[in-house]
Symmetry: C2
Subunit: 182 residues, 2 copies
DNA sequence: GTCTATAAGCGGATAGAC
DNA sequence: GTCTATCCGCTTATAGAC
């Protein structure tokens, strides 16, 4: 059920997907969904929570595998590539940003996950920016987050090609600039 | 009517806004909307076309005002700041990207405007990248487009603060790097 | 717990008068 | 061309049997 929801909701669109489509995909019946989750919104929230946990796990692996400060900062781009590659059904772009756009008056339960995603990004990128940029760590973290968000949005836009490479390049430049001010 | 549509659709959300809300905002009646536009989708498409034309005009002004190659490339960020400042009701982020997310199976009329926006960005940024980056112009244009998209998405994410400054900084770095390879 | 069938409400669109 | 009133379909959610 959750797997089906993740696949269809974030590929076809959250609001564009009627509950019936989820039921059909999961091969269960309406009553089952509503006894387990209570509402479509609650199902969305749960699917987002699962997704955030999965994504964090993939990112963790790439951080552990990185062997220097620069690689740890840029691991977020490698993790994104892995996450999308390993997932059978890659979402159209970013499920969290899609939810923010499609559900502007989302239930607290939903917006909390979006905030958690942004917070995870901001916190980790700042952490990994410190050894590279010292006092300019916040500046660097902001730049990398922007490059990362730009990469995600490039999937939605369909342009440019190979957005992960472009975003990674941008982040790399930003990191080098903070080491060599001017 | 179009002004009301632009304000409400792209601030409250396209799908989240019922036709009734647009009618109330514009102080007209349902029949009026449907005789003039034919459908909600057609109204959305027209609002997007108007918005693209306005945006292009603002960008034009900032290009003309720029007095060197670097300023012309970065004018897109100044134009974005102007556009949002001068608009009474700034949209939540980018109307075109919002439409792409909210209407995944959009009518051709709508997706054409999105394609036109991306095309305008890609074409102009490549044009202004040439004098700065020469053979690496495409590379630079991709990077600036990514930084620009990241800036827009930062409005949706609510983070980082001052996204236009961050995006502009990234684009500037990318341009400098193309002038000084390595 | 899961199914079938159905209720309740909303949103987009239209009919017909003026 | 605009309004009032209304229709129709879709979507979410529930009731009641098994």
């Amino acid at each position: 059920m959750l797997k089906a929801a993740d696949q269809v909701l974030f590929d076809q669109g959250i609001r564009a997907t009627p509950v019936d489509a989820l039921l059909q995909q999961a091969e269960v019946s309406a009553a089952t969904l509503y006894t387990h989750f209570g509402s479509k919104d609650a199902l969305i929230a749960e699917a987002l929570r699962v997704r955030l946990a999965d994504w964090q796990g993939v990112w963790d692996q790439h951080i552990v595998a990185a062997d220097n400060d620069m690689a740890r900062l840029l691991a977020v781009f490698d993790a994104l590539a892995s996450y999308r590659r390993d997932k059978g059904h890659p979402s159209r772009w970013c499920a969290f940003l899609a939810a923010a756009t499609e559900l502007p008056a989302a239930a607290e339960e939903i917006s909390a996950v979006l905030a958690a995603d942004t917070d995870l990004l901001a916190t980790r990128l700042l952490h990994f920016s410190r050894p590279l940029a010292g006092p300019r760590a916040q500046e660097l973290a902001d730049e990398v987050l922007l490059a990362y968000s730009g990469t995600l949005t490039a999937f939605l836009r369909g342009y440019p090609n190979a957005p992960i490479d472009v975003g990674r390049r941008l982040a790399h430049l930003a990191a080098k600039a903070c080491r060599q001010p001017g």
